[in-house]
C-alpha cells in the first residue's frame, strides 16, 4: 500500500465555531479539551472522524468538535454509529454517551454494539446522575441516592458499567477520570488503536447535581489510596507510599499491606488479556474497601463485525460473480408472450 501522509493538525482544527454550553465547572470541559488536544495527533484525516451522540449533557459533545458529527436521539447513538461504520468502514467512529443515555434508555443498543465488536469507540461520561433533566438518579447512582425523583432514596441497585461491558463481550474495556489529563490522552490513543469496540468509562463530575461523586478518586488527600492505576504486566500496587496491593485469597481479591507478611511478589499481576482478572477488577467498583481500578482492564483481539461482513460479501462475489439486478430479474421460470 502506498504510504499516505496525513496532514498535521492543531487543536484549532478540531475546535468548532459553536460556543460551548455546559455549566461552568462541568467535567465535560476537561474531556473536550483532552479530545481536542489528542485527536489531531492520531494520524487520521480530520474528515474521517465522525462523532455520534444521543441525548444528555455529554451528547452535546459533537457540536464542539470540528469533525463530522450527529447529535441523534436518546439512547440510539450505537444504532446510528453502526450504520455509519458498516456503510463506510474507513471512518473513525466515536460514540459519545452518558450513564443515562448509554445504560438506561440505550442499554439494549449498548450491549449489542459491544457484543458485535464493530470498530467503534464509545466514550461513556459517567456522572452517576441525570444532568440535562435536572437531577434525577441514574442507573449508575448508588443505592439510596436522594434526588428530586427519589426523595426517600433510590431503590434500584446500580449498574457497574465495566462489568456490564465485560458481560456483553466487549473486547476493550477501560476507565479514566475527567481531570486526569495525561491518562485520558493515553486512553483515547489506546482506544483508537484497538481494533474492535472500545468501551471507555470516564468518571465525570457533575458539579451542579452530583458534585464530588468521585471525590475519593480525585481529591489529593485520598486518591492515592482510592485509585488503582492499572498497568499491564505489573503487580497491583497502590497507596500514597505504594505499600498496598491486591492479592488473591483463594478466588477472592483482598487488599494487603506490603511489609513483613506480604511482598510485591505476592500481589496479583495485571493481565489485560485475562477475563477473570478484568471481571474481578471491575467488581471493585462501589466497594468501599477497595480502590477503583483506572486504566485498561481488558483488551483482546477478536474478529471485527464489519470485516466479517465484507468477507462474506467478497466470498459471495467469488462464488456468484458480481451479479447484476437484471440477472436477478431475468432469473427463474420465465415465459414469453408474443
Amino acid at each position: 500500500m502506498p504510504e499516505t501522509k496525513v496532514k498535521t493538525y492543531t487543536r484549532a482544527d478540531f475546535t468548532s465555531d459553536q460556543a460551548v454550553r455546559w455549566c461552568p465547572g462541568c467535567g465535560d470541559y476537561a474531556i473536550l479539551a483532552q479530545a481536542q488536544k489528542i485527536f489531531p495527533d492520531l494520524g487520521v484525516e480530520k474528515e474521517k472522524f465522525v462523532f455520534i451522540s444521543g441525548i444528555g449533557c455529554s451528547s452535546r459533545f459533537p457540536y464542539y468538535m470540528d469533525t463530522y458529527g450527529f447529535h441523534t436521539i436518546h439512547g440510539r447513538a450505537p444504532g446510528i454509529a453502526s450504520g455509519v461504520k458498516l456503510s463506510n468502514p474507513d471512518l473513525s467512529v466515536w460514540v459519545v454517551t452518558g450513564d443515562g443515555d448509554g445504560l438506561s434508555i440505550g442499554g439494549n443498543h449498548m450491549i449489542h454494539l459491544l457484543r458485535r465488536n464493530l470498530d467503534i469507540n464509545v466514550m461513556l461520561f459517567n456522572n452517576r446522575i441525570y444532568g440535562l433533566t435536572k437531577g434525577q438518579y441514574s442507573p449508575t447512582s448508588e443505592l439510596g441516592k436522594v434526588t428530586r425523583s427519589t426523595p426517600m432514596g433510590s431503590l434500584d441497585r446500580p449498574f457497574n458499567p465495566l462489568a456490564l461491558a465485560l458481560g456483553s463481550g466487549a473486547t476493550f474495556v477501560c476507565r479514566t477520570i475527567d481531570i486526569e489529563t495525561k491518562h485520558m490522552q493515553a486512553i483515547i490513543t489506546r482506544s483508537y488503536s484497538h481494533k474492535g469496540t472500545a468501551f471507555i468509562e470516564i468518571y465525570q463530575n457533575c458539579n451542579i447535581f452530583n458534585d464530588g461523586a468521585f471525590a475519593p478518586m480525585t481529591d489529593k488527600e485520598s486518591k492515592a489510596d482510592k485509585v488503582l492505576w492499572l498497568e499491564n504486566g505489573q503487580p497491583m500496587l497502590f497507596g500514597a507510599k505504594q505499600n498496598k496491593g491486591i492479592r488473591l485469597d483463594g478466588n477472592k481479591p483482598i487488599v494487603v499491606t506490603i511489609g513483613k507478611k506480604w511482598s510485591v511478589d505476592d500481589l496479583l499481576v495485571h493481565d489485560e488479556g485475562d477475563y477473570v482478572i478484568a471481571s474481578l477488577l471491575s467488581n471493585m467498583t462501589y466497594q468501599d474497601d477497595f480502590p477503583d481500578p483506572i486504566g485498561v482492564l481488558y483488551a483482546i483481539d477478536a474478529p471485527i463485525y464489519e470485516d466479517l461482513m465484507l468477507a462474506q460479501i467478497n466470498k459471495a462475489v467469488k462464488q456468484k460473480g458480481t451479479g447484476s439486478v437484471q440477472d436477478l430479474l431475468d432469473a427463474g421460470d420465465t415465459w414469453i408472450v408474443e
Binding site: S16, Q18, E45, K46, E47, K48, F49, V50, I52, I55, P62, Y63, D66, T67, Y68, G69, F70, H71, T72, I73, H74, R76, G79, I80, A81, S82, G83, V84, K85, L86, S87, N88, D90, L91, N108, H109, H112, M309, Q312, I313, K315, A316, V317, K320, G321, T322, G323, S324, V325, Q326, L328, L329, D330, G332, D333, T334, W335, I336, V337, E338
Partner: protein, 614 residues
C-alpha cells in the same frame, strides 16, 4: 369411458389443509406452472400466525388461493370454484366460502374420527350427504394412494404420508391440463441432498395425475386459454421479492451502496431474507437488536452516503417513530417499508390490513411530514420501491412505503422490467466546490427541490454537525429562534408538497365525470378495478382512480373528485383515506370499510356502489 374437455375463462382454486400439509408450497407450485402456461393469475396465501398449531385443529388450517384466467384479472378472486381440503378442519373453515355448486376434493383418509372431532364434526360430512346437495364432492384416498405409489421405497410411513400434497397437486394438474415438468425440475433442486424425497414426491404427483386420467370419477378436464398480456418476457413474482428487487435496482442505478437494517417481523421478514441472499451485489444487511436499531442504523447509513432502508410492519413502525422524526429533522434519505398487517398491538400478524395509513402520515411527534407511497399489486412493489428510493434521495427526505400482507405474499405474472428503462437516478454528493466564503452550509437548499446537500463523512472540508435539535436554515446550526422554527416547519412541509409536481396526470379508469368514483390506495386497487369493469359493463357511470402517493396527493385530484356525484373509498380499515379526502377537498365521500384480515372483494364493492347509485 371417454373424457371431455371443457374450455373455461377463469378458475379460482383454494388449497386448504393443516399447517404441516404443505399447502403454501402446493399453491406455489401450481402458481408457477400456471404462470408458465400463460394464464393471468393472482394469488392469496392465508396462513395462521402459529408455526404449528395442533395438528388437525381449526386454528392450524393453512390455505392458498389462486385465480387464473385467460383474461386480464386484478384480484385473487372472491369465492373459490374448487376447494382442496386435506382434512376435516380445512373443510370446516373454508366450505362456507365456496361458490354454490363448487367442487370439493378431499383426502378421505384424513377424515378419521379423531380429526372429525377436532374439526367439530358430529358426523362425517363425506358420508352423511350434507354436502351433496350443494357441491360436487370427490373423496379421494390420497394417503392410501401415495402409500401404494411408494411401497417399494422403504421410507418411513410418515415421510410417505407427507407427499400427499403432491398427489393433490398432480390431480389438479390433470384436471386443469397443466405440465408437471417444471415441478419435477423444481423437486430436484429443492431436495438435491435427499434424492429419495425427489422420487417419492414425483411418484405421488404422477399418481395424482394418473388417478385423474384413468379413473372414471373425473370425467371432465378444463382448459384455460393463455391470457392476452402485452408482449414481453414474463415471470411470476411475489410482492416482498419484487420490493427487494426494486431496492436493489435503485442501488444499482444510482450507484449508491444499499444498506438494510431491520428486525424480523411478520410479514416483512422476507425482505430481509431476500436482500441477505444478494451479498454478491454488495448489499449490506444488518439484523439489528430491535426495530429502533434497524431504523437508526439505516439513518446512520444514509448519513454516511448509503441508501438506508428498513422494513417492518405496524408495530415496528410504532417503535421507529421517534427515529423517523430525526430523519425528517436531519433531512436524510431513508426508505421505510411498512408491510401492513392486522392491528392494533400484535393484532393479526399473518392477515392483511390497510390500517396504518394515518400512522404513516401522522405517527410522529411535532410537524413531521413524510412522503407516503403505496403499492397496488405484488409486481408494483418493485416500481414503488424504486420510486421511494429515488424520491428520498432527490428530495433528501425519509419516505414511507406502504404495502400489506396480501401484496407481500401474493403473486402475479409480471412483465420483467429492464433496468435501462427505469427513470434516471443520479446522485451528486456535495464536495468542496459547494463551500461559499470558506464555510460549508449543510442546509443551503437546492432551488428546485428544496433538498439540502448530501455531504458525507470522509469529504474533506465539509465537516459539519447535524442533529435532532431545530436547525437554523442554511447554516444548520442549533437554533431556538421562534421565526426560524416556523420557517423550518413550513420549509419541511413545502418540500414534501413539491414532490407532487413531478407526478404524471392522474389516470382515470372510465369517464371523467359520472355518478360514482371509486377511489383506492394500496392493495385494494385490484378489487376496485374489477368492480369498476363490472359496473361499467352494466352501463353504470362509474370510474376508478387509484392513488399511488397518499402524501403528497396529486395536484389534479381535487378537480377530478368534484366531477362525480358520489365518491366511494373502499379500505381495509375503519376509514382512514376518507378522512384525508374529506378534510382536504370538503367532499362528501363514502367509505366501504371491511376489516376482516382479508382483501375486500369486488362483489362487496359492486354491492355498495349499487346501493349508492341504484
Amino acid at each position: 369411458m371417454s373424457k371431455t374437455t371443457q374450455k373455461v375463462d377463469e378458475v379460482v382454486i383454494r388449497f386448504a389443509g393443516d399447517s404441516g400439509d404443505g399447502m403454501q408450497l402446493t399453491g406455489g407450485r401450481f402458481t408457477e406452472t400456471t404462470a408458465i402456461v400463460g394464464n393471468d393469475l393472482s394469488t392469496l396465501p392465508d396462513f395462521p400466525a402459529e408455526i404449528r398449531a395442533p395438528a388437525g385443529s381449526l386454528a392450524g388450517v393453512s390455505a392458498f388461493q389462486i385465480k387464473f384466467s385467460s383474461k386480464d384479472i386484478h384480484t385473487p378472486g372472491d369465492a373459490p370454484d374448487v376447494l382442496v381440503a386435506m382434512n376435516p378442519a380445512a373443510l370446516k373453515v373454508h366450505q362456507q366460502e365456496l361458490a354454490p355448486g363448487g367442487t370439493i376434493i378431499c383426502n378421505a383418509n384424513a377424515f378419521s374420527p379423531k380429526n372429525l372431532k377436532l374439526a367439530g364434526y358430529e358426523a362425517n360430512p363425506l358420508e352423511d350427504g350434507s354436502l351433496d346437495d350443494y357441491y360436487t364432492v370427490y373423496d379421494v384416498e390420497m394417503s392410501n394412494m401415495v402409500k401404494r405409489a411408494c411401497v417399494d421405497m422403504k421410507l418411513p410411513p410418515k415421510t410417505v404420508d407427507r407427499t400427499k400434497n403432491f398427489f393433490a397437486l398432480g390431480l389438479l394438474f390433470w384436471i386443469y391440463d397443466r405440465p408437471m415438468q417444471s415441478t419435477k425440475n423444481w423437486l430436484k433442486v429443492k431436495f438435491a441432498k435427499r434424492p429419495e424425497l425427489v422420487e417419492a414426491n414425483a411418484r405421488a404427483m404422477d399418481a395424482g395425475y394418473n388417478y385423474g386420467d384413468t379413473t372414471e370419477i373425473f370425467t371432465t378436464r378444463y382448459t384455460v386459454d393463455k391470457a392476452s398480456l402485452p408482449a414481453g418476457t414474463y415471470r411470476n413474482v411475489v410482492g416482498n421479492y419484487a420490493l427487494s428487487l426494486g431496492l436493489a435496482a435503485a442501488a444499482e442505478k444510482s450507484g449508491l451502496g444499499l444498506y438494510y437494517g431491520g428486525y424480523p417481523i411478520t410479514p416483512a421478514s422476507d425482505i430481509l431474507h431476500t436482500l441477505s441472499a444478494w451479498k454478491h451485489l454488495g448489499i449490506k444487511t444488518f439484523q439489528a437488536e430491535d426495530e429502533i436499531a434497524g431504523v437508526t442504523s439505516a439513518i446512520g447509513a444514509a448519513f454516511a452516503g448509503n441508501l438506508g432502508v428498513t422494513a417492518t410492519s405496524g408495530p415496528g413502525i410504532a417503535l421507529k417513530g421517534e427515529a423517523l422524526g430525526l430523519a425528517v429533522m436531519a433531512e436524510l434519505p431513508v426508505v421505510v417499508v411498512n408491510v401492513q398487517r392486522g392491528g392494533p398491538s400484535t393484532g393479526l400478524p399473518t392477515k392483511t390490513e390497510q390500517s396504518d395509513l394515518l400512522q404513516a402520515l401522522y405517527g410522529r411527534n411535532g410537524e413531521a411530514p413524510i412522503p407516503v407511497i403505496t403499492s397496488a399489486t405484488p409486481g408494483d412493489c418493485f416500481f414503488v420501491a424504486y420510486e421511494a428510493c429515488r424520491i428520498a434521495v432527490k428530495y433528501m427526505t425519509p419516505v414511507i412505503l406502504l404495502t400489506d400482507g396480501y401484496l407481500a405474499n401474493g403473486s402475479e405474472p409480471w412483465q420483467v422490467p429492464k433496468i435501462d428503462d427505469l427513470p434516471p437516478f443520479d446522485v451528486t454528493f456535495a464536495d468542496k466546490s459547494k463551500i461559499a466564503d470558506g464555510q460549508f452550509m449543510p442546509y443551503l437548499r437546492d432551488k428546485d427541490t428544496m433538498a439540502r446537500p448530501w455531504a458525507i463523512p470522509g469529504t474533506e472540508g465539509l465537516e459539519h454537525r447535524i442533529g435532532g435539535l431545530e436547525k437554523e436554515d442554511v447554516t444548520g446550526n442549533v437554533s431556538y429562534d421562534p421565526d426560524n422554527h416556523h420557517h423550518m416547519v413550513e420549509t419541511r412541509a413545502l418540500k414534501v408538497e413539491k414532490i407532487a409536481n413531478e407526478f404524471e396526470p392522474t389516470e382515470i379508469f372510465g369517464k371523467k365525470s359520472g355518478d360514482l368514483l371509486l377511489l383506492s390506495w394500496g392493495g385494494t386497487k385490484g378489487s376496485c378495478r374489477s368492480a369498476a369493469e363490472s359496473l361499467q359493463d352494466e352501463k353504470k357511470k362509474v370510474s376508478h382512480v387509484h392513488l399511488r402517493w397518499v402524501n403528497p396527493l396529486p395536484n389534479d385530484l381535487g378537480e377530478i373528485l368534484i366531477k362525480f356525484k358520489n365518491i366511494l373509498i373502499p379500505e381495509i380499515n375503519y376509514g382512514q383515506l376518507i378522512k384525508i379526502i374529506r378534510s382536504e377537498f370538503l367532499v362528501d365521500a363514502k367509505g366501504l370499510n371491511l376489516v376482516r384480515g382479508k382483501p375486500i372483494s369486488s362483489a362487496d364493492i359492486q354491492k355498495t356502489a349499487k346501493d349508492l347509485i341504484g
